[in-house]
Symmetry: C2
Subunit: 516 residues, 2 copies
């Protein structure tokens, strides 16, 4: 058995049963091995950013990794942005990069590059396997590394000769340690702070990775109701169960001034799987740290710790009542109509989201106000771009649909961001995935128009030329059709509601270009 077959058998033994791929010559034996080993589904992406974004979406929904298959340094490079998002989401991904045969690197042929240097910044774990005999061991270690709490990107670099040389056979799965428990001292410290019955809003619990499960949210909500503490999630969530039956928890604002205002009255901040809040970017004369000076920060559960167990323990320590209600206002009557506004869009979404759907949101400026209006939507999972590398939407939605074929997927995609990875629409068509993509066509890098002002710079011809996408206007209907995805365009909320209804009843993917 050659190294390639030992690799694929080890992956399957380890529960890795889906491979998103964009292979090249150095991966040919791996491709061939996929034919000899049952149990591995292969999905082709036409650009590597699609491949890695798919692996991110798949891993977020499955809680276990898919493999990728990428070609040499440039192929890896093309996939790094969505690996960055996956790393920041703590998504388990086994990122396999084929490279030149070990003995061929010395010739410095055109595709030669330092793959390890490229991989390290976007990986939690990197290994270059130098022998066919070590490939199976390294693959088992890679799966283990990807699954080790809090999860992450494990990059395994495989020279071509490790694939075609005789190996020692496959490896069995390595055991994965459960999440570490949070320190009981920190839980006690949080309990003491909350018992002090500070005024509403003076204590806040911030939920992040691991603190966003349904059970985590319920425990957090019990605590908040019992103590008056404020509750927020991080600005961007990797995956959050939301909607009917889940607590109405909003997120930390993206805009620095709004976040500073929100955190100004907070004297004690309890972190449950979240980092200490910091501005997404630095701005002249504004702080990077968002907490008011003197705020006590209690790191109750780190990202690699069991935030869910910590929140439940905290709720019990506080004897918070188990029965809670969410006390939501009655939803707005009637379907909104007329032009796009974020609030109106949120209302349409709240009414139309199907039960158990998955929402992938990479809507940038158009997506900022969507949490509040969708508290009363049907139960769903909400995924966001966690690493700031825009363009994760279409690929991540695609991977989520591969993971969950019975759940409709709605992708909320900003137009500028969508252009980084539109190739993912083709994979949706090829795999007949039930993904509805809504493109917010404001025909601008609207976020940059705001950011220019935020940094104190002045708009002018250069910024106008670099931030506008309206000359020529992108025609997303044709772009989607060009990749085999049916599409239509609308510029009203009532048109959107109709189009969404058609899209959700159609088999396979669908795209709606919403003029904003």
């Amino acid at each position: 058995m050659n190294g390639a077959e030992a690799l694929v058998r080890t992956l399957v033994n380890s529960g890795v049963t889906t491979c998103f791929a964009n292979p090249g010559t150095s991966e040919m034996h791996f491709v061939s091995a996929l034919d000899r080993v049952p149990g591995m589904r292969c999905v082709l992406g036409l650009a590597e950013t699609v491949v890695t974004g798919c692996a991110d979406g798949y891993g977020r929904m499955m809680g276990r990794p898919a493999a990728t298959l990428l070609h040499c340094g440039p192929g890896l490079a093309n996939g790094l942005a969505n690996l960055h998002n996956a790393k920041r989401a703590y998504t388990p991904v086994v990122n396999i990069v084929g490279d030149h045969a070990t003995y061929h690197v010395a010739y410095d042929t055109p595709l030669t590059s330092d793959v390890e240097s490229l991989a390290r910044p976007m990986s939690q774990w990197v290994r270059l396997s130098r022998h066919a005999r070590s490939v199976a061991d390294d693959a088992a270690l890679a799966v283990q590394a990807a699954r080790t709490s809090p999860g992450g990107v494990a990059t395994l670099i495989l020279p071509a000769d490790t694939a075609w040389t005789e190996s020692g056979g496959p490896q069995q799965a390595h055991a994965v340690q459960p999440r570490r428990q949070a320190s009981s001292q920190h839980i006690d410290q949080a309990a003491r702070a909350l018992r002090a019955k500070s005024a509403d809003g003076a204590t806040m619990i911030l939920l992040g990775t691991g603190g966003l499960t349904e059970a985590s949210q319920m425990a957090a909500w019990r605590i908040a109701r019992a103590t008056g503490a404020a509750l927020r999630t991080t600005t961007f969530v990797a995956r959050m169960p939301r909607g009917h039956g889940r607590p109405p928890i909003d997120r930390m604002p993206y805009a620095v001034d709004q976040a500073l205002t929100m955190l100004a009255p907070v004297r004690t901040l309890i972190l449950a799987g979240a980092p200490t809040p910091a501005a997404f970017f630095a701005y002249p004369d504004k702080p990077s740290e968002l907490c008011a000076p003197g705020t006590t920060v209690i790191p109750m559960a780190g990202v690699d710790e069991d935030a869910e167990a910590a929140l439940i323990a905290l709720a019990e320590a506080l004897r918070a009542p188990r029965q809670v209600d969410f006390a939501l206002p009655a939803p707005e009557a009637g379907m909104p109509f007329g032009a796009f506004t974020p609030a109106a869009f949120g209302q349409v979404l709240a009414r139309i989201l199907p039960q158990d759907c998955i929402v992938m949101e990479d809507a940038v400026t158009s997506g900022r106000g969507l949490f509040t209006p969708t508290f009363q939507a049907a139960a769903h999972d909400w995924l966001q771009n966690t690493g700031g590398a825009i363009g994760g939407g279409i690929p991540t939605a695609t991977g989520a649909a591969i993971a969950c074929p019975d759940r409709p997927v709605i992708c909320l995609q900003a137009d500028g961001a969508g252009m980084y990875s539109l190739q993912g629409l083709w994979t949706q068509a090829r795999e007949r995935l039930n993904v509805v993509t809504i493109v917010f066509a404001n025909r601008a890098y609207a976020i940059l128009q705001g950011e220019l002002r935020a940094v104190g710079a002045v708009p002018g011809p250069a910024s106008d030329a670099l931030f506008s996408l309206n000359d020529p206007a992108l025609d997303w209907v044709r772009l989607a059709q060009g990749m085999g995805v049916p599409a239509e365009r609308t510029d009203t909320m009532e048109g959107l509601a109709d189009a969404l209804s058609r899209a959700l009843h159609a088999q396979g993917p669908y795209l709606i270009e919403l003029l904003c």
Copy 2:
């Protein structure tokens, strides 16, 4: 004057007058500075691989660098594949990457990454500027580094606070050393080998970077005619003047077996700006080194040396006659018709290429046989993908058109490769560039079907699924129209000839999908 303005003024002072950009928040002050400093043209790319590919095409045609403007680690990552191609082409590029403010990095916010680690593998020179006061100096050094023979990618990483902090003003251009002269000993050694009057083909001159100028080719041709030496270029050329009035020099084959056969009779190989020939990839039981054992390799001019001067000196040393003819056979009569074959396509191209046009070829399997049939085309420059990172075609053609607005550009683009960077079509439409893209729609990763066999692996369902692009078929006409580029489809050579004629007469970009 802040650091951003000092940067832009220094670039303009140094002859960098075009900036291909896909900026983000950390680059806002640089964008603003572009408005205050006259003399810099800004061109937007909707994906970073477009931005860097444009800079490659521009630099190849101008012989001096454009700047890029990229956003943080993921933005750089998205552009690395075409920077890799530029590095391998020795194209001068000043690659500017904005990053978080120096003091903000410690907060490890979502977009934080190790930009230097990402940049090093695809750059000849990397510097992180830490102070506004050093930005101008570093920018002048970056331009110098990009222009230092043989040319290359100089990456300058600029934290956001270096842009908005007060600087010491701009820098003047740094002097650039001329190319080093090749060693006269090596030239003498080559002359002795050639005077030995070995049988035709037993001595070969291999032309690469620097040895591909028109003067280099003419000198090489004189030598070949006087001595019977064989002449070849490297398999991939960054830029080669070809066609009417230029010598008919073919390139080294890509396929290993063909290259081995060609080099088998060669006893002496003289390198003029080319590396020792090595296989593009390693294959089981085939050598990486392509020269027959015992071949004497004379490294007459290295890639950073003046191969043109060395070839002229060698021709003079050999007293090779200055008057040479090219003795080409009469061109085939009549325009080919019927289905696509590489030979027929080459004939169409030979007849239709306009005088002084630029051909960018990223045609992969469809492009292998095009040199011979186009020896008699009108004079043109031929550019190829030099780094093996497919998808360079559309962006590089776009950058070449920005550099040479008066020269028609023909982009020969394989369909699979084209999907990596189709976003470049939008920039062609926005800038009204005279680029005609011919997409070879074989609806497959045809090269991989061949490579699978070449490595001794066996086709099967996985390879079929990963190498075929026909389910669904890509519709390049709609894809182009979706980005504002007029397009049509043909499946015959006569249809291609008609379409090309329309395309070349149209103002602005045009795309022809050629079913293969």
